[in-house]
């Protein structure tokens, strides 16, 4: 039965949704505001959800406590005001930490950025089966015995046989009384997707540039995860050489040295060829760089690789160029020259944190 509070609670969640939507740009451009909570939820500090009152400021107010300690002893660390117990009960801080599931966050972002739902490529060919316990049958392993149904059956039998004694209600099930849970295997169509993140970690990519990549990939990840059932992420870093790394390393590594973008594209192409047959997978390579490539020749190689090895297999190839004081920013122009007509290629220039949101829209706005 639904509770009365569900209405008010639903209303509260609705308001939160609105607030998050309103402030989405801020959250996106300040990645640190969102703290990850467990596997599929985040905690977001929301301003002014709570109702404001005229009240005393905290710092001059102080309080009274009970226990040991000398004047000057700290009560606890940091800025946090110690709890007031119930006597000094006051409404909480103006900032409210709200837990939101990633699914919900993705929905909110989708609505705000007006992102179209993704049309999975081809028909979903990967089918997995999932067992669901839906019925009852008379045979089965003891571990699946349905106690209540068995009991009922035995009770019914004993009553009808006249062996049931209300004064001494002992029920003994026999073989025929036993009931077991039974399952059905249901096919679950799955569209699988893989995101291949590539990042330039050469000397010209500073911490700020990486931060932008980190934030942007968080949101892209969140969105794509909401669109596909199973999704894999792979990470490639490159300077003059490319290698696959785990997520942590991906965001932390800093190398020096030159940049050969083709090395990453080669690795990416190999990955697709070896592990992700394109008829089964929706493939999303994302490449972030400051646009400074080693040589014109290498750029030619890149274009060649894209044309022959990568683009035919992927849903979308996204290239994000982060502005950096060292990079020439040439690469995006080169890509533009060659793939202007190709709607599988999306390029976006990310000028700073404020531009992340628009860039996400560039990438995901096509619904591919």
């Amino acid at each position: 039965m639904s509770q009365r509070i569900d209405l008010d609670h639903g209303r509260f969640r609705q308001i939160i949704r609105g607030k998050i939507k309103q402030n989405l740009r801020k959250y996106i451009s300040q990645g640190e505001m969102i703290a990850k909570k467990g596997k599929d939820a985040v905690s977001i500090p929301l301003p002014s959800v709570d109702i404001p009152h005229f009240k005393h400021g905290d710092k001059q107010q102080g309080g009274v406590g009970q226990g040991d300690g000398q004047p000057g002893d700290p009560l606890g660390q940091g800025q946090e005001k110690p709890g007031q117990g119930e006597a000094g009960d006051r409404p909480g801080e103006h900032l409210l930490d709200i837990e939101v599931s990633l699914q919900e966050l993705a929905e909110i972002m989708g609505e705000e950025l007006e992102l179209p739902r993704i049309q999975p490529k081809g028909t979903a060919k990967i089918v997995s089966f999932k067992d669901r316990y839906t019925g009852i049958r008379t045979t089965g392993p003891e571990s699946l015995r349905h106690f209540r149904r068995t009991f009922k059956q035995a009770l019914r039998r004993q009553i009808s046989m006249g062996t049931y004694n209300p004064a001494n209600p002992i029920i003994v099930p026999i073989r025929d009384d036993k009931r077991y849970r039974s399952w059905k295997s249901e096919p679950e169509p799955q569209s699988n997707a893989v995101i291949i993140y590539m990042m330039d970690v050469s000397g010209s990519m500073g911490d700020e540039q990486k931060e932008i990549v980190r934030i942007e990939s968080f949101w892209i990840d969140t969105w794509l995860r909401s669109q596909y059932h199973g999704i894999e992420s792979r990470y490639i870093i490159h300077d003059a050489m490319a290698k696959e790394v785990d997520r942590d390393t991906f965001f932390k590594t800093r190398e020096s040295g030159g940049t050969m973008i083709s090395s990453a594209y080669k690795l990416c192409a190999k990955m697709i060829e070896d592990e992700y047959p394109p008829e089964l997978w929706n493939i999303y390579p994302f490449h972030f760089s400051d646009g400074d490539n080693w040589s014109v020749d290498d750029t030619v190689t890149c274009v060649e690789l894209l044309k022959t090895k990568i683009l035919p297999h992927v849903n979308l190839f996204a290239y994000g160029q982060v502005e950096s004081p060292y990079g020439s920013g040439q690469f995006i122009k080169d890509l533009g020259e060659h793939f202007d007509e190709d709607d599988r290629v999306v390029t976006s220039e990310i000028k700073g944190k404020e531009a992340i949101m628009d860039s996400i829209k560039d990438f995901l706005g096509k619904g591919k």
Partner: protein, 499 residues
Amino acid sequence: MAGLKRFPAYLRDMQEEVEGFARGFGLEFFPIVYEVLDYKTMNEVAAYGGFPTRYPHWRFGMDYEQLAKSHEWGLSKIYEMVINTNPSYAYLLEGNSLVDQKTVMAHVCGHVDFFKHNYFFSKTNRKMIDAMANHASRVRRHMARYGQDAVEDFIDVCLSLENLIDPMSQYIVRNREDEKEDPDATEEVPKLRSTRGYMDSYINPPEFLEAQRKKREEEKKKQKKRFPEQPQRDILAFLLEHAPLDHWQRDCLEIVRNEAYYFVPQAMTKIMNEGWASYWHSKILTEKALSAAEIIDYADAMSGVLATSPGRLNPYKLGVELYRSIEERWNKGQFGKEWSECESMDQKRDWDRRLGLGRRKLFEVRKLYNDVTFIDEFFTLEFCIEQKFYSFGFSERSGNWEIMSREFKKVKDQLLRMLTNRGQPAIYVEDGNFENRSELLLRHAHEGIDLDMGQARDTLRNLYRVWTRPVSLLTKLENKGKILRCEGDNITEKSAEYA
């Protein structure tokens, strides 16, 4: 209600037993109706402040989410809830141990006795369940007619102002009708003092008297022109009377004000009420109701309830200890002129007149006092030292909250300040026709603590929505007079004279 369980017979027997003990001790309460709730329903009822039906509002949903979260994480558990109505409704948590349920029942007896007899509860509506349900249906009707968003938005505004009431107005008469002056009465004009009669016509010549009389009349006229004539504490009442509101808006504001007043006595007697209930459950259980096998479980639960932690005032602990101290003092005759004039600590320590007045005094205290007067009168130097009280504050130097002082006077002052006006700033309507432009001027009676400016600004914006003309607030910030003026979303700040 979902999750409502039938009240089982063994609990009914327990209730009868516990209430018998309570009556035996002299407690006297409204009939108590228990309901056993599962934890979800318990959280729901708690979010509604103990009432089964409240008007629809998201804030209850927010409170519910926080309660549910902290329950899930094992941070808190609501043992008991009781509301001040006749009959009183109390809630038991399903699945609590029998010792817990017994303790809760004894505790509830204490609360209901307090509700029934404490003076500050004497003005409350004991049929508040019906009133709340009535409020709910009024709000629902407005929502159906004017739209949920509009009504809910306006209730947000009202709730933001809900503490701007005059909590003491229920107990005292602010404006006496019969003091209306006789218009014909000629008023005596104040004269300068002259000791010798013959000098009077020189010290107070007729011209001077005439001038004085005129001046007084002017002043009076001015006061008549002032609106309100006296600064008004109950800002919500002022708004209800004078703000340009639609009838549904007025209705919502009235509902919020009405409910705010209902909850005033709870906030005013938190320490006393919890202390009283704890005193009695402890008495009833340890002296009567517990079996030997239950005593450890009971003690374990109690150590949690009465625990203190740094920077936290536990009202249960403070209350129960203070009652015990009063009982002991009046049993031993440690009061009165002789006691307070005695300066020998030795003598004081062994002071025992064997008067046995403790219990009688306790019942008197629970009838007549509220938290402020309770602390003011019975929080003594000896008690403060024995119970290891200290005051704490924020140290700018270390960036920490730290213990400030163990000095009796400072601790007590701090405690009283926290309790006065329920720890909230006192704000008055100073002028309803500020600068002769029907603007509203409020005044914060500054008592050494600045307002939280962020919240003050947001609250002013809400006030503006009710008053619909610019609203100003006179306050003090870091010892300088400040006036905040809100016109629409726009808030300006400038320095002003704060006298």
